[in-house]
Subunit: 266 residues, 2 copies
């Protein structure tokens, strides 16, 4: 794993020093911990430490092997890479995608702060998709082997980790429903409402936000072409459901958007 670190540095990826550790070695753990640990992270209600006691959160901090910066457009990992760790988004925005031989790309998820990436790698022990930053981002690197060990001692951590995986499965069921059974406009409405909720859960505005992804990426996620996405945006705007100006979206009528999903053709 130290090898892993060196390899990454060699590739030009930036690692953030973890003062919590460095300083602890110098003998003033409290202050150091507060400066970067999970307990001080404003995402702890969403991320892995959710529901744990203060003491437990301190132990979970030990899982964070490093922080890693990923610039916009760069890969965090690629399909086929050996699997060692999960990644918690600390800041920024990611997409994961799978590719067909002829180059067709399917985006399988967008990840924002507090969400965990890489769980599909546990089974095959290698990553099965590509993770790319959509803006300059930072992730917490969670060594999976340590997570396994620690979650044997902390039932709360075990539970939370299982819930995180389970929710990923449930989320994907939702996407399958969307891709398999919804029409273009329903898909986009569901997508916007989902983004809105997730921003709101992070105490950002759910009513107004900036899309981090292009129309093409939205289309890839929703199984549509970018032109279809663009047209649906325009139609929603005409109907007063949203306001769009390029990547800036305002949700004007969330109830109206909800209402158009799953109610048949009219």
């Amino acid at each position: 794993m130290d090898k892993d670190l060196k390899a990454c540095v060699a590739e030009g990826q930036v690692f953030v020093a973890l003062p919590g550790r460095a300083v602890r070695a110098r003998g003033s753990p409290e202050i150091a911990r507060v400066s970067t640990g999970c307990s001080n992270c404003n995402l702890h209600e969403i991320c892995i430490p959710c529901g744990l006691t203060g003491r437990e959160v301190d132990q979970v901090e030990e899982l964070i092997y490093a922080r890693r910066c990923v610039k916009r457009g760069e890969s965090l990992y690629r399909a086929g890479d050996a699997f060692n760790s999960l990644y918690a988004v600390r800041s920024g925005f990611f997409k994961t995608s799978q590719t067909l031989e002829d180059g067709r790309e399917q985006i399988t998820a967008f990840y924002m702060a507090g969400e965990i990436m890489g769980m599909d790698g546990i089974g095959p022990e290698r990553h099965s998709c590509n993770a790319v930053a959509l803006e300059d981002s930072q992730v917490c690197v969670i060594l999976y082997s340590q997570l396994e060990v620690l979650s044997r001692d902390l039932p709360g951590l075990q539970q939370q980790f299982h819930k995180v995986m389970s929710r990923e499965i449930a989320r994907e069921h939702g996407v399958m429903l969307l891709l398999g059974s919804m029409r273009a406009e329903e898909r986009l409405a569901a997508f916007l409402l989902n983004l809105s909720q997730r921003f709101a859960a992070r105490r950002y505005s759910g009513r107004e936000f900036v899309l981090r992804m292009t129309r093409e990426e939205i289309g890839s996620y929703l199984g549509l072409k970018l032109e279809t996405v663009s047209r649906a945006f325009s139609k929603f705007q005409e109907e007063g459901l949203i306001s769009v100006r390029h990547k800036r979206v305002g949700i004007l009528d969330a109830a109206g958007l909800k209402h158009m999903i799953g109610r048949g053709l009219h």
Copy 2:
């Protein structure tokens, strides 16, 4: 959970006595165990006990709270039901589906012997989809609370469980690729190859098998209408890739099927 059992019995569901337990109480554990336990189950290489030592498998057997019979067309659980247990398919065949308000149904998975159902319920603590038997089936009921406890003591069990969840995530990524990026015939080809592999892994013929689901159910899973599925079957048959006669399918040219996936339009 005893309540759970009574409720189910009241609904007319059949439970299979677990002689392993009853007999153990009478003092001859070995014989009893062999008659029904995981160690004797021909699925143990696929199912939860995969990779565990004999001694560990004995402990895992304790997880199986009951066996339950589900007749063709009956529900194992429904969306909204409280989540208590996972289910391992012992014999038979299941579908899970999600439904939109207007009745559109999306089948999210088909499960065959040795596969684990219900993992999407862990996070929300209730099932989020419906599980229906496509033929008379039997499942092993795995109490989730006990699985949590036992997997703290058995690292091998913990690992295997994480792998099972992870593979479910990876499988769904594959389905998303299929639904979002493939054309009708590619989808059906991918579906048939997947079924074929899974039958083969269970030492059934991967070259010839009987579909347990209708064209409509295949269509629902693949995001297509039943007529489209039927036409694709006919086309594959004309091209000599498969033989179909209603639910009986023969794979005549697996390489040919593989070749038509992900290679662009021609």
